[in-house]
């Protein structure tokens, strides 16, 4: 690295005396400044959540509104469908109760007194986005019609290296179908898994999800970044080799709480938090 830096510095010195392409150089010089600024922003904690769950506020952005959820809350009846694969559940007899869909329900019930919150989890191991598409179409049309679909996907597609373009098309179809049936959508991306990180190429699939979220103006719950931040801050040791459930339970509890925060924030009357707010 030192050699690169030296080389760059020398190149720049040589270049700047010879030619006046100062704009290009300024760009190069600015890069580390931007990187630092970003790190600074991301170290600010998310308020009002238990210490365990704190992550950067910028990572739980809710710049896109959830009008159907807003309407459902004012009608005092909020039905949510969580559509997911293996990372939306935990093993064991208590698994369903401890996984984030159930934790989401209890966090929402606590934060929305007087609103009847039901979270239905349609979760099966090893489903790709395409496997879930038919179930999603059926579920949004049948009573109780959910006001919100939380769609957790991406991992299985990446493991099976499904064609990224086909993955994007499936996401598009799913989001369109849910919206047409009168439900809002929140996309949830992959878990951060340090041990398998060098074996599963998540990049293309994470990009697809980010792009579809932007395209259709639906919030993305960036589970990957959130868990990565926990691991970096030492909140949870995600490297650990263990059969015990304690960390897994707390991780799912936090995901449920943060997801509840995102949903409530995006469903606030008058739309979401302004895109760029002054803190």
């Amino acid at each position: 690295m030192k050699a690169i830096k030296k080389a760059i510095m020398k190149t720049m010195r040589l270049a700047s005396c010879g030619r006046g392409i100062s704009a290009g150089l300024a760009l190069v010089l600015l890069m580390p400044v931007f990187a630092l600024a970003w790190l600074q922003i991301s170290s600010q904690a998310w308020a009002e959540t238990p210490a365990d769950c704190r992550v950067a506020e910028t990572q739980l952005d809710n710049s896109f509104p959830l009008p159907r959820v807003e309407a459902a809350i004012s009608n005092k009846k909020l039905a949510i469908l969580v559509l997911g694969a293996g990372s939306s559940r935990l093993p064991g007899p208590q698994g369903t109760l401890l996984a984030y869909p159930a934790r989401l329900q209890s966090a929402l019930a606590q934060k929305l007194p007087g609103v009847a919150v039901t979270v239905v989890a349609d979760v099966k191991l090893g489903r790709t986005a395409r496997d879930m598409l038919a179930d999603m179409r059926a579920a949004v049309a049948a009573p109780p019609r959910p006001a919100l679909v939380v769609w957790q996907t991406g991992t299985v597609d990446a493991v099976r290296s499904v064609d990224p373009e086909a993955f994007t098309r499936t996401l598009t179809k799913g989001v369109t179908a849910a919206k047409a049936a009168g439900a809002d959508v929140v996309l949830m991306n992959m878990q951060y898994s340090p041990r398998t990180e060098s074996m599963i190429a998540l990049g293309n699939y994470a990009d697809s999800m980010r792009w579809v979220a932007l395209q259709f103006e639906v919030p993305l719950f960036d589970r990957f970044q959130v868990m990565k931040t926990w691991n970096e801050m030492g909140t949870f040791d995600l490297y650990r080799d263990t059969k015990k459930m304690d960390i897994a339970e707390r991780v799912h509890d936090c995901i449920g709480r943060l997801l509840a925060d995102l949903i409530i924030g995006a469903a606030k009357p008058g739309g979401a938090v302004p895109p760029i707010d002054v803190k």
Binding site: S63, D163, P194, M199, W211, Y239, D277
Partner: protein
């Protein structure tokens, strides 16, 4: 038309690209913040493919002119075979790593992720698919791309030597047809190649075209103030767009219509925006470091140049080092200091191995044996 001397700038930037690829292959690495892909659309892969096309045309173009089509083709195919063998060697390392993880890691959070290990249950199919270049684990997509590009290079080179511009146009037409009809090679277990050879060939042929006189033809355009201004403007624009990926709140600043046009920026099919970003970078670099620039011989650049001169070996070694670094980060510590140390140690090792390889090559050249000196074109790093 072709300069007689090897252009060290190519080795320099290929060496730097190798370092960046190594750093990007370590999944959790603070030093990744310094790599190209965080500040624009293109990344080290573009540099690598372009320079490889350039050097392949430089080395084998001379061979084809001096010794004919058959000899040059034989050399190109020999190099292709070497790259294939290197790829299979990397696959063996990958198998070792993944088998270790399969037997040593358990965590109730990651039942789904462990599905990646399913293929170990049917090694007959998986290993066969790997030999056919259809099963390509993470970070092992670049060498298969080269194998295909080089394997089809002899007829392309033949055409380039006869009518360079026609060859470039043909390459562009193939790129356009690929985009129109969605052509790609199939992969296993499903999907298609992560680096579509039908798309990336454009950059390879463009590099080859530049080596065979294209640069001289374009020299006026490259040096013009308008081009430089456009390149700088485009780089700044890309930088601004990329920043919105890290701060989602800024994403809404990109008008919807613009977002609809530019996204998704397609890496498998080498999006035109990525090519433009690479070309803009190249314009700036060529203007900053003109041909015959004396500073290139400074010892500061020696480490990168020597890596770039042994690109196939150093690339493979870099993939191995990235695995090793990930192993250290998961098994021992993932603190930022360790990440920095792993990154630095990896680059130092890459340079050390490259120096040893140079030493070997000199032994072969200056050996006291009465046989003719060992100066095969394909060892000059034409391929990867």
């Amino acid at each position: 038309m072709v300069a007689g001397e090897r252009d060290l700038r190519l080795d320099l930037f290929r060496g730097i690209a190798l370092w960046l690829i190594f750093l990007d292959h370590i999944p959790t690495n603070i030093v990744n913040w310094a790599t190209l892909r965080n500040y624009g659309f293109s990344d080290a892969t573009e540099i690598f493919v372009f320079i490889s096309g350039y050097t392949a045309a430089f080395v084998y173009g001379r061979a084809m002119r001096d010794r004919g089509f058959i000899v040059a083709t034989a050399r190109i195919l020999k190099r292709t075979w070497q790259i294939y063998v290197a790829h299979i060697f990397l696959f063996a390392i990958y198998l070792a790593e993944i088998s270790y993880v399969a037997n040593s890691f358990d965590n109730p959070l990651y039942g789904e992720e462990m599905g990646i290990l399913d293929f170990l249950r049917q090694p007959d199919v998986t290993i066969m698919q790997a030999l056919l270049l259809k099963f390509k684990p993470v970070n092992m997509d670049v060498l298969p791309l080269y194998i295909v590009l080089l394997g089809f290079f002899p007829p392309v080179l033949w055409l380039l030597l006869r009518n360079a511009s026609l060859a470039l146009v043909a390459s562009g037409v193939l790129y356009a047809l690929m985009w129109t009809f969605g052509w790609n090679l199939p992969a296993y277990p499903e999907g298609s190649w992560a680096f579509n050879p039908l798309a990336w060939q454009l950059l390879f042929v463009l590099g080859a075209w530049c080596a065979l006189g294209g640069v001289q033809r374009l020299s006026r355009v490259i040096a013009s103030r308008v081009t430089i201004a456009l390149a700088v403007a485009y780089l700044i624009l890309c930088f601004a767009v990329v920043m919105t990926w890290y701060v989602p709140r800024l994403a809404v600043l990109i008008p919807h219509t613009v977002a609809e046009i530019i996204y998704p920026i397609d890496k498998p099919n080498l999006d035109i925006l990525r090519i433009l970003h690479f070309l803009a970078l190249a314009v700036i670099v060529v203007n900053l470091l003109p041909h015959g620039w004396a500073g290139i011989h400074s010892p500061v650049f020696r480490p990168a140049i020597v890596c770039g001169q042994h690109s196939l070996e150093i690339f493979c070694f870099g993939v191995f080092l990235a695995f090793a670094a990930h192993f250290v980060l998961t098994e021992i510590s993932s603190r930022i200091l360790v990440q920095v140390l792993c990154s630095a140690a990896g680059i130092v090792l890459m340079v050390a191995v490259a120096e040893v390889l140079s030493w070997y090559k000199n032994l072969d050249r200056k050996g006291s044996s009465p046989r003719p000196p060992f100066t095969q074109a394909d060892l000059a790093g034409g391929g990867a």
